[in-house]
Symmetry: C2
């Protein structure tokens, strides 16, 4: 089984590492000219003339990046199976579509407005009540294309700084924490849910995830499971889906956004879960039975951003698992992550601090349950 992957970054790399033991082979189609997967066969296609070659090599197609032209993915679907489908891409790459789907399925979200001018943005800020966050409806990634508006008078500057013809404006949620639910749906409709993770972002970039959570009510996990199940079933989805949510003071969940792929907030599953998100994605898209999503132990994922730490120091931490992406250092670039496991959350937090202290530029971590 040769699996074609659209995109050739670290997510594709980790998919391949999970897929070799299933006797999968991988062909990546890179349109950026600077692939980093470093594994499998990588077709660099900056001139967009190698798609047929790519499709001739592969049995089915998946992707590590949802900001792909929908027309392209539909054209691929006419030739080879694509999982998740182009419909998942169409919805997930547009925040307006995504929110409309959440609304239709009864999944609560922060209050929001769609705006198409600076004036509309200012009016929305007034109506929702500042602070609000304005985001371009498309191509958002890791905090790019976003602005926080603390006063409606800032709307003009924000509009120009984002520079996009349609924005979504959302109420600032007074959340206790940011969480995510990752689930996987097989070709037969079977669904499995990972324990929810708490995610700490700094400057819009994920820095830490921890799962399972010591203080998460079972009912909250079940609510998240039901939200994501509804999405999976509605989209007749095959593969791993990620839903990021805000948890409010009353324990409620508000959907933020979703990603139709393996996700940074699920990297902890590589060492902390019985079956990783990467293996389960591959099992799903090939029609194999899903693996157990249970956690083996409390696990913390620490992202390595911009500059790497000393590998020897990191690996000296007991039950630390280093996952380097073999990329060059650059400010803000995701270079690696470290998964830390411990039998108790107290020990885990100590390990996390030890690890963070070894990383240049790592912010002081703080979780809601501390």
């Amino acid at each position: 089984m040769n699996i074609g992957v659209l995109g050739a970054g670290q997510l594709g790399r980790m998919l391949a590492l999970a897929g070799y033991p299933l006797a999968n082979r991988f062909t990546f189609l890179d349109t950026t000219g600077h692939p980093s997967a470093g594994i499998g066969e990588v077709l660099i296609d900056t001139d967009q003339n190698r798609l047929d070659e790519f499709l001739a090599k592969v049995n089915l197609v998946t992707y590590e990046f949802e900001h792909l032209p929908v027309a392209l993915v539909r054209a691929i679907e006419a030739v080879k199976p694509v999982h998740p489908s182009s419909e998942a891409i169409r919805v997930c790459q547009n925040r307006a579509e995504e929110k409309a789907l959440f609304d239709r399925l009864g999944i609560p979200t922060p209050a929001y407005r769609l705006v198409e001018s600076a004036d509309e943005l200012e009016a929305a800020a007034r109506a929702l009540g500042c602070p609000v966050v304005a985001k371009s409806v498309t191509e958002g990634y890791d905090g790019k294309g976003q602005a926080v508006i603390r006063d409606p008078a800032e709307a003009g500057d924000a509009w120009r700084s984002i520079g996009h013809p349609q924005l979504i404006v959302e109420s600032f949620v007074d959340f206790v924490r940011e969480v995510s639910i990752i689930a996987v749906r097989g070709r037969d409709g079977q669904v499995a849910f990972y324990p929810m993770a708490e995610n700490v972002h700094v400057d819009g970039i994920l820095r830490y995830s921890i799962a399972p959570l010591p203080d998460l009510d079972d009912g909250v996990q079940r609510t998240a499971d039901e939200y994501i199940r509804t999405l999976l079933d509605e989209l007749d989805y095959v593969g791993v889906l990620t839903l990021e949510l805000f948890q409010t003071r009353d324990g409620g969940l508000l959907a933020n956004e979703m990603a139709p792929r393996v996700h940074n907030s699920g990297h902890w599953t590589l060492d902390g879960a019985v079956t990783s998100q990467f293996e389960n994605h591959l099992r799903a898209i090939q029609g194999l039975p899903l693996g157990d999503t249970a956690a083996r132990m409390p696990t913390c994922m620490v992202n390595v951003i911009g500059r790497e730490g000393d590998s020897a120091e990191i690996l000296a931490i007991p039950d630390a698992h280093l996952h380097r992406y073999d990329k060059g250092e650059r400010p803000g670039r995701k270079l690696a992550h470290v998964n830390l496991l411990a039998p108790t959350h107290g020990e885990l937090l100590n390990k996390m601090r030890t690890c963070a202290a070894l990383l240049p530029d790592a912010p002081a971590p703080r979780f809601s349950f501390e």
Copy 2:
């Protein structure tokens, strides 16, 4: 760090899968003309003229197969670091050298004789008392080059069938079980020991390993640890070393043979230990701190030999981890292994039987502690 591997089979493949997350890259030198690693860069060198090219690409060299010309490995050592060293290869590839080392270090073995003719073989069989097992001193692998002699009169036939100028003749040990100890030694002399495994061979081929053992006395593990530590220190060894032993009715251990590499009886560590033998080998040879060798849970490794089972059926077993080598089917060929984990040995044995029933040609497994 580009790691050169002599040999390009499944052991090299699994080393590479463990090494990508450490940002290692891999170049394999294959002299057989039919490499199966299927990952990294593979140099096929059947005409033995690509060694310089190989050495120019790599930072250090290791191997997945010890039956290499010692002169070749010494020549490589003059250019690039080789771990484990050529001395380990020299000893491990010759049963006479190996037994002499065991004797010198006080590691008990079955009684043995070295013979260089059919007459000497017959005399040794009489002296040791039949049955005995005769083995060529070199190139033994998976039961090839061996014969069991049940009567001294069979010595002539056995001599001719093995067809080697020097044999080692050993008493047949009335063992309770075959076990192995795997340890890893860092460049700084630090040593870590895996829990011992019980190994079930059929027709000289490993079929099942299970670790940790429910009935293993701590003292037996400590004895095995000390035996292998003595070997590691004596050889100033860097990397993973495997020592296969017989456990006798009184709990004693007799050394059978050793392998200067990651070993099939350690494949359970991929899912069942905190750090796999593959990662620890790579950590050791790069001078990185060794990872924890503790078992997470009772684990059984089931080898898939000759023909593969249905992946979907195998993956439907809870906490089953399939590791396929992406090789063609052929009688006696190692094609894959399955690691099964369970919280108790009772559940583990049930899973093992379920798994064995899904594999064509899998013998009925039976462990000493059942």
